[in-house]
């Protein structure tokens, strides 16, 4: 392989190389430093005169005397059956002291888009054991549902609880977890690893770790390596894969860093104009394919800068993902775990996986009624702050109390409390029964007669 020593410019993570043979766009590049260490990069722009290379690692030590080797192929990930249980770096190198991955296949990490015609519509309910997700923002297999959080909030605990408890009721198919960390701290890593070890999840998991002190640019490929592995496990080996990506905010920061280094025209808040397309090329790699056994479900975590949901990172993510779970600081301050605020949360695929034959016939209506009741009670809190509780009508007082009950009984649950969907829905009914029956306008009469605790009790007594 030819080695060029024609670097003319090094700017941030970018190298400009001149007088090369024709080089392919997107090619993988090896950079050999004068002390013999090797770094990796990728071609971002190629022409007769100059080739621009983006380095995935720190550029310290790279100079005009460094050698450049173009590999002639795009970045590929070696994948194989023995990946389960392994811990790899953010660049895909073994980090657990074990041997290299035995490659059964080498797959391009820039995944091709799944043909929409080949997709199968996701409709298998995943029970996470968390009421605010199962009953009101249901997750289904093949969905991409992010957790929108803020710094200092327990999003990691929630993600871990989901990873621990997630199951499809009545099925015992093979599952796997692919965990990709981008720019998280060592402490956070320890928290995840300790939990994986405690629960034995590690043997079903492939872990990619790019920590806070690893090169930021490497974060660009970490999620792609993880998703390539996930797709291999799902669509070739038939596993149901849960992919956890954390923290997407760090990923976007890395993207901005490269954009700035390339002197691109920035979009909103300095993030590149193509960030939507770039994020889509990550988030869209979830789903189910017709005739294939496995599935890829994505649970990504992102911290909203300043808890601002309109910030470009959560905003663009929300437009691509199929809903979002929003973690709320106020609930956290009240000491409620998991502090999930259902009002801005949403699962777009919920309706495909619930109802008769999936969960229970009353699921959708109960969920809508809980939302409407909580929203109304929540609004009244603002009013109470001004006029006091005494000025409320009897009806309003009931809704106000309902909102408190909802937070304390329905939202709040233990770190290891695994509620079945029936338990969650029954709990919902119990809370709804504190409201006057004629206020339950979202629910059909016959469902009220069947599930409302009042009628159930009556039916029991009759029997």
């Amino acid at each position: 392989m030819k080695e060029y020593r024609t670097i003319t410019q090094v700017a941030g993570p970018l190298l400009f190389v001149e007088k090369t043979e024709p080089i392919g766009y997107g090619e993988l590049v090896n950079i050999v430093q004068s002390d013999g260490t090797m770094k990796r990069g990728q071609v971002l722009d190629t022409s007769d005169e100059v080739v621009v290379v983006q380095v995935f690692e720190d550029t310290r030590g790279i100079g005009r005397d460094s050698g450049i080797r173009f590999t002639g192929e795009t970045i590929k990930m070696p994948v194989g059956r023995d990946m389960l249980g392994r811990i790899l770096s953010g660049g895909g190198k073994p980090k657990d002291g074990g041997p290299d991955i035995v490659a059964e296949k080498r797959i391009d990490v820039i995944g091709a888009a799944i043909n929409p015609y080949a997709r199968s519509s996701p409709d298998q309910f995943i029970q996470t054991g968390i009421s605010t997700i199962d009953a009101t923002n249901t997750l289904v297999r093949g969905q991409k549902l992010p957790i929108f959080s803020g710094s200092g909030l327990p999003h990691n605990e929630i993600a871990l609880q989901i990873a621990r408890q997630a199951k499809v009721p009545g099925s015992d198919e093979e599952f796997a977890v692919v965990f990709a960390a981008m720019g998280i701290t060592k402490e956070e890593e320890n928290q995840f690893m300790a939990d994986f070890e405690r629960t034995g999840a590690l043997e079903h998991a492939v872990v990619f770790l790019n920590l806070a002190d690893d090169p930021a640019v490497e974060r660009i490929i970490t999620p792609r390596l993880a998703l390539t592995t996930a797709e291999y496990l799902a669509f070739e080996l038939g596993y149901h894969v849960l992919v956890i990506l954390t923290d997407m905010t760090n990923y976007c920061e890395a993207l901005r860093q490269i954009g700035a280094a390339r002197e691109e025209v920035p979009g909103r808040r300095g993030y590149p104009g193509y960030m939507y397309t770039d994020l889509a090329s990550i988030y869209e790699r979830a789903g189910i394919i017709k005739g294939k056994k496995g599935s890829v479900t994505q649970l990504s975590i992102l911290t909203m800068p300043g808890d601002d949901i309109t910030h470009p990172i959560p905003d663009l993510s929300g437009y691509i993902t199929e809903g979002q779970i929003v973690v709320n600081r106020e609930l956290h301050r009240k000491g409620i775990y998991p502090p999930i605020n259902v009002l801005p949360s949403l699962s777009r695929l919920m309706n495909l996986g619930i109802g008769e034959g999936y969960t229970r016939e009353d699921h959708k209506k109960v969920s809508d009624q809980l939302y409407a009741g909580y929203a109304e009670g929540n609004d009244l809190r603002g009013l109470v702050a001004i006029v006091g509780k005494d000025a409320l009508s009897e009806r309003d007082r009931l809704f106000l109390e309902f909102a408190d009950l909802f937070e304390n009984r329905f939202v709040r649950q233990g770190h290891d409390e695994d509620r079945s969907i029936q338990e969650s829905l029954d709990l919902g009914w119990e809370l709804l029964s504190t409201l006057p029956e004629e206020q339950l306008v979202r629910i059909d009469r016959d469902l009220i007669h069947k599930y409302h605790p009042k009628y159930r009790k009556a039916a029991k007594q009759e029997a």
Partner: protein
């Protein structure tokens, strides 16, 4: 077609979806084949000997020095039998064929014609030899699904006399008609997507597009041939609204463009539409639908082309005399594709990095809507409904603002409403329709002479409620005068019973105009009775808590509701009578 000069060149530079070639004699918007794999691209800029090309497929691995070939043709779609029930990518490649050719993932370098060139269709001529025909003339018919596909003389053919016309079974490429001057006509013709198809005249839209959605038909109607925008933050129900329109609007043909959106959503449409019935014909909805799916992770240049592909297909059916509705979800992703390409071209950016020609492109696109007299004298329409995804839900951003300057109907989605599960989450105070005046007479004649009166009354009550709510927020509802407490209750009924509609309930998902009127009228009857009872001294608490009205919400979920509704009205009257007498 003969191309003068050199139609071959070599690649000089590759930067993502934008590449530069030298030595190519090209014209703007010519389609070119790039590299050894012959990827499809389009010329978007010419700079001395450099030709700048946007490529519709992934360019990884392409090297400088590889060949580029100019086809000399513009990006065009194939129009003819076989369009209906198809699902295409942004450049009219059928996704079903792509899957057969390259498997579950979309790889590159595969071409596939938009229409099947093998399938035979039964062509029945409606003209005979000796007849004069001109651009747009209907020369025959093909039964495609339950839609009669009318075969048109392409708009760019000179008028002439038919020498020979054949009846029978043909592929779309076989000649079915020959003119005296030797012109051969096939069932299929091609049309460049960036050129609007010509019409004789654009007419004023004065018939509403009935959508079965109460807040749209009832309060903010759109006319056939009109334009509407649905802007809203994520999670406010844009896609659900667009899909409801695609399902239930009374257009004869629906073109649905998934432009830079989610793959699973397109799959949902694909699985759902064949199972749903058209409320008018009872046939599967899919039979009248053409889908274009260029999901967010498919090549960005093809996303830019997808809206043009869609609207050209819509215009083609319009020229046959059909009412077509076109949904574009989402035009913001289209604008972002323009921005991405523009920034790769290193053009001087306008607002928020969007190219300076954003406003011009948007208005050109929406202007292709309209109710027209086609070249053949038939009357048809294209209604365009575009979703807009403003970043952060901020309506002051360039795409929303430039769209609002053009469209006549604005359905403002509101995240606050969707959070409390008020669906469709369309804000009744912010939305507007500029078609109310032109549609006035239609409602008078076809729904009820007092429809327009009841509608204005409902809007007034909702407006009044908004003002009253501000007071309630400060002092609580008990502090309001009695009459206004009734107004609050009536407004609540309007919101919860009339405006809220459950897209997932088999009955409530579609509500015809008569039922819309009946529900609205019943709320009006309640209001009149309530104010009347109050005047004669019945306490407000009793007035607003009469039992009969509690049955009204159930009417929405009842198919044959007439008898139930009469009973409710009778009960209401009886209860109020009892109250007045007590």
């Amino acid at each position: 077609m003969e191309v003068k000069g050199n139609n071959k060149g070599t690649l000089k530079r590759i930067s993502g979806p934008v590449v530069t070639a030298v030595g190519l004699n090209a014209h703007m918007y010519d389609v070119v084949r790039v590299g050894n794999e012959q990827l499809m691209g389009e010329v978007i800029k010419i700079q001395r000997d450099n030709t700048i090309i946007q490529v519709y497929e992934d360019t990884s691995g392409i090297r400088p020095g590889e060949p580029v070939e100019n086809t000399g043709l513009s990006l065009a779609v194939e129009l003819g039998p076989g369009l209906l029930t198809s699902i295409y990518d942004g450049i009219q490649r059928p996704l079903e064929v792509l899957m057969e050719k390259m498997g579950d993932f979309i790889e590159r370098g595969v071409t596939a014609p938009g229409l099947s060139h093998e399938k035979k269709w039964d062509f029945v001529p409606t003209k005979q030899s000796g007849d004069r025909v001109g651009p747009g003339t209907i020369i025959g018919e093909v039964q495609e699904t339950n839609i009669m596909h009318r075969i048109l003389v392409p708009p760019n053919v000179n008028p002439g006399t038919i020498k020979e016309i054949k009846k029978g079974s043909f592929t779309v490429e076989e000649t079915v008609c020959v003119l005296e001057d030797g012109t051969e006509l096939q069932m299929m013709h091609k049309w460049p997507v960036r050129v609007p198809r010509p019409v004789t005249e654009k007419k004023n839209p004065d018939i509403p597009l009935i959508t079965g959605q109460r807040i749209l038909d009832g309060l903010f109607p759109i006319a056939k041939g009109g334009t509407a925008a649905i802007p809203g933050p994520f999670g406010s129900g844009k896609t659900v609204t667009q899909q409801a329109l695609a399902k239930w609007s009374d257009a004869e043909i629906v073109v649905y463009i998934g432009c830079g959106e989610r793959g699973n959503e397109m799959t949902e449409v694909l699985t759902e539409f064949p199972e749903l019935e058209d409320p008018k014909t009872g046939k599967p909805l899919m039979e009248r639908t053409v889908l274009i799916a260029n999901t967010s992770n498919m090549p960005v240049a093809a996303r830019e082309a997808s809206v043009y592909t869609g609207i050209t297909i819509a215009e083609y059916f319009r020229d046959m005399g059909y009412d077509v509705s076109l949904m574009a979800d989402s035009t913001s992703r289209w604008a972002e594709a323009m921005r991405e390409i523009s920034s790769r071209l290193e053009e001087m950016p306008g607002e928020e990095g969007y190219p300076a020609y954003l406003a011009a492109r948007l208005s050109e696109f929406y202007e292709r809507a309209g109710r027209v007299e086609a070249l053949n004298g038939k009357s048809g329409s294209v209604t365009v409904i575009g979703a807009v995804s403003p970043p952060g839900g901020d309506f002051s951003e360039p795409v929303t603002q430039n769209t609002l300057r053009i469209v006549k109907v604005f359905w403002a989605l509101d995240a606050k409403l969707s959070q409390r599960r008020h669906f469709p989450a369309i804000n009744w105070l912010d939305s507007y329709s500029l078609y109310l005046d032109t549609l006035h007479d239609w409602y008078d004649e076809n729904v009820s002479p007092d429809w327009n009166i009841v509608r204005s009354w409902a809007m007034e009550v909702l407006q009044k409620e908004a003002e009253l709510q501000e007071i309630v927020q400060l002092v609580g509802s008990d502090a309001l005068p009695d009459e206004e407490q009734v107004t609050i209750e009536v407004a609540r009924m309007l919101r919860e019973i009339f405006l809220q509609q459950n897209a997932f309930d088999p009955v409530d998902t579609f509500c015809d105009m008569q039922k819309q009127y009946d529900i609205l009228k019943t709320i009006r009857i309640f209001a009149d009775l309530a104010y009347g009872a109050q005047k004669v001294g019945v306490p407000t608490a009793q007035v607003i808590s009469i039992k009969a009205k509690n049955d009204l919400p159930q009417i929405k979920f009842t198919k044959d509701y007439k008898a139930d509704l009469e009973k409710i009205v009778a009960n209401m009257e009886a209860e109020f009578k009892a109250l007045r007498e007590a």
